[in-house]
């Protein structure tokens, strides 16, 4: 078996090796399966490792490469967050409720990846039903941060972020409802990208908060992020909120020249509560961007401080409706020792769902209930309009915004798990993009005490090209993306 340096390999490099027949997809896949066996003991990024599927996918990929009909992701070993359905492979949402659920159908993006003959290595751990910021809410596994295994990987896509950081896959796909791709990417020192709402099909993504959920890539480089988005973006009639728009060529628009490129620094993202190390890293990053010729100016988004409150009304409200389906009747965990049908529902949900999920369902049900709907849900939707308008206005004057992804670096396992409000603050800088539906990306921008810091860019609706441009230019001018944890 030919050995490849998996710690640094990107999709772009793997593509070159595969196309030049320097390595086969099967060799590459076996290297990853071997690495997963070694490192999973410490990291626990995977809920399920699909070895047989991976080997079969790799053989199919090699056949296709032999025929010369390969595409960008053919033969590339990857992971899917375990809330994305893949036919015949368990999709657990890291919940006892779906621990034994095997979807009989594919998410649309799983079909796209199959059509390219990508290699599925397995499914990544998450906070139960993607509700959380540390992956500690997983009912199945405790994922550790590869940079320091006493710390959390962030969440909810903690498995995908840790797997990419520990080089247990080339890339992974996560979902981002309030920061669930970008925040763990920041804490694990990888690139995490949330596309414009509606750009990537949500069909087959297990629903959490449908007006906020969006699938996106976690990768080792900005170029890889653009490559993956290219493969998964596009209209899908099976998603009623899918956007029917022309998809630009993201990769060919990557450039390192930022002359005249307008970058806004929203002052509301440099507030009390941000750690001094993170703040310094981001201020340093802004200097780098200036050095690349960017026209950097301070801007203001005064409604930013309301985004977290809007989110903690809207997301639980939508969750309470979406998760009503888990009744133990049609699929999933079912508590059979119940006298009546109603007791069966109540015990199934009581024993099948974890504390954070119950908290959000109940909070949402309260916010939607008669007498409180106007005060909470409707009010939050109106403030959402104001936040969205504020972003629209600011993007008339700047091409992207730059800010920290998370107020702190990775925190210790157990530190915040008993205090929901403290945990929610981790997403204070990422949530506004979900509220407004705009794209955001987090890229490595420093190390503080050996822990990664993420620099976040946001762009206007469907302005992914601008987002990638800023991120790529910064990445190419710095060396942070080449730093890897010693796992």
């Amino acid at each position: 078996m030919k050995s490849v340096n998996l710690e640094t390999i990107t999709i772009a490099e793997a593509r070159r090796l595969l196309d030049n027949k320097e390595v086969s997809a099967l060799e590459l896949t076996k290297n990853y399966l071997e690495r997963i066996k070694t490192f999973e003991k410490n990291i626990d990024a995977y809920v399920t490792v699909t070895e047989d599927r991976a080997l079969e996918d790799a053989n199919l990929a090699d056949k296709r490469i032999g025929e010369g009909t390969q595409t960008n992701l053919t033969g590339i070993p990857m992971q899917l967050k375990d809330n994305i359905c893949y036919s015949g492979i368990p999709t657990t949402c890291s919940s006892k409720m779906l621990e034994n659920f095997v979807p009989p159908y594919d998410a649309s993006i799983s079909t796209y990846l199959k059509n390219e003959n990508s290699v599925l290595l397995g499914k990544g751990n998450l906070d139960e039903f993607a509700m959380g910021s540390s992956t500690e809410n997983s009912a199945l596994k405790l994922t550790k941060n590869p940079w320091d295994t006493s710390r959390v990987p962030g969440g909810s896509s903690g498995g995908p972020a840790a797997a990419v950081a520990a080089s247990e896959c080339v890339f992974s796909l996560g979902s981002d409802t309030g920061g669930s791709i970008r925040q763990p990417a920041s804490l694990c020192g990888v690139v995490g990208m949330k596309p414009t709402y509606g750009l990537v099909s949500r069909f087959g993504l297990v629903a959490f908060a449908s007006s906020l959920d969006q699938i996106g890539p976690l990768t080792k480089s900005v170029e890889d992020s653009a490559l993956v988005l290219q493969s998964i973006a596009g209209y899908d009639s099976r998603d009623s909120t899918s956007l029917d728009v022309k998809i630009p060529d993201y990769v060919s628009n990557l450039t390192t020249d930022l002359k005249g490129f307008r970058i806004g620094i929203p002052k509301e993202y440099f507030i009390e509560g941000i750690s001094s190390g993170v703040e310094k890293s981001i201020l340093d990053a802004i200097e780098v961007l200036k050095g690349l010729g960017a026209d950097v100016k301070e801007v203001s988004l005064p409604h930013t401080k309301y985004a977290l409150a809007v989110y903690y009304i809207i997301a639980p409200s939508e969750a309470s409706a979406n998760l009503a389906r888990y009744d133990g009747v049609k699929y999933g965990f079912s508590e059979k020792n119940a006298e009546t049908m109603w007791a069966g529902f109540e015990n199934t949900r009581s024993n099948g769902l974890g504390p954070e999920v119950k908290r959000r369902i109940m909070l949402g049900a309260y916010a939607l209930s008669a007498g409180y709907y106007d005060a909470y849900y409707l009010k939050a939707q109106k403030v959402r309009t104001l936040i969205r308008q504020e972003f629209e206005d600011v993007f008339k004057n700047v091409d992207v915004l730059a800010m920290p992804t998370s107020p702190t670096t990775a925190f210790k396992i157990g530190d915040k798990i008993d205090d929901p409000l403290q945990m929610y603050l981790n997403d204070i800088f990422t949530i506004p993009a979900n509220i407004a539906g705009i794209p955001g990306i987090s890229i490595p921008a420093g190390l503080v005490d050996g822990l990664p810091v993420g620099l976040q860019f946001m762009a206007g609706t469907l302005q992914e090209t601008n987002l990638f441009k800023a991120a790529y230019a910064y990445e190419q001018a710095t060396d942070w993306h080449n730093q890897t944890p010693s796992v």
Binding site: N100, V102, P104, Y105, T196, Y197, G198, S211, S237, S240, T241, H303, K305, Y306, L308, A309, V310, Y312, I313, S320, A324, D327, V329, Y331, G332, F333, S334, K336, T340, M341, W342, A343, G344, E346, N347, R349, S350, L353, K358, R359, I361, M362, L363, A365, Y366, S369, Y376, L378, K379, Q381, K382, V383, R384, T385, R388, P420, L421, A436, G437, T461
Partner: protein, 99 residues
Amino acid sequence: MSELTDLSIEEIRQISVLTRIAMTEDELDVMRTQMSNILDSVAILNEVDTEGVEPTGHSVNIKSVMREDKRQDSLTQDETLLNAPQRDGSFIRIKAVLE
């Protein structure tokens, strides 16, 4: 809502009934405190003047889509019932609805 939110145990019990989540008295009490705290933290929204502001449901402008009423392949009955916890032939078995 400027005063601190203080949900009662009875309110929490009612929500647990509505959401079909069985809870012990201790669990109800923890939930009461946590939900009250969370609702306190979102009360900040009352500062915002939303007079005349339209609510946003989705961040994209969605138009209803029509399609031809044509037959399409779908999952088979067997595939659909594959994950049913209790199955009886081509049916899902549940507890009696009427007692």
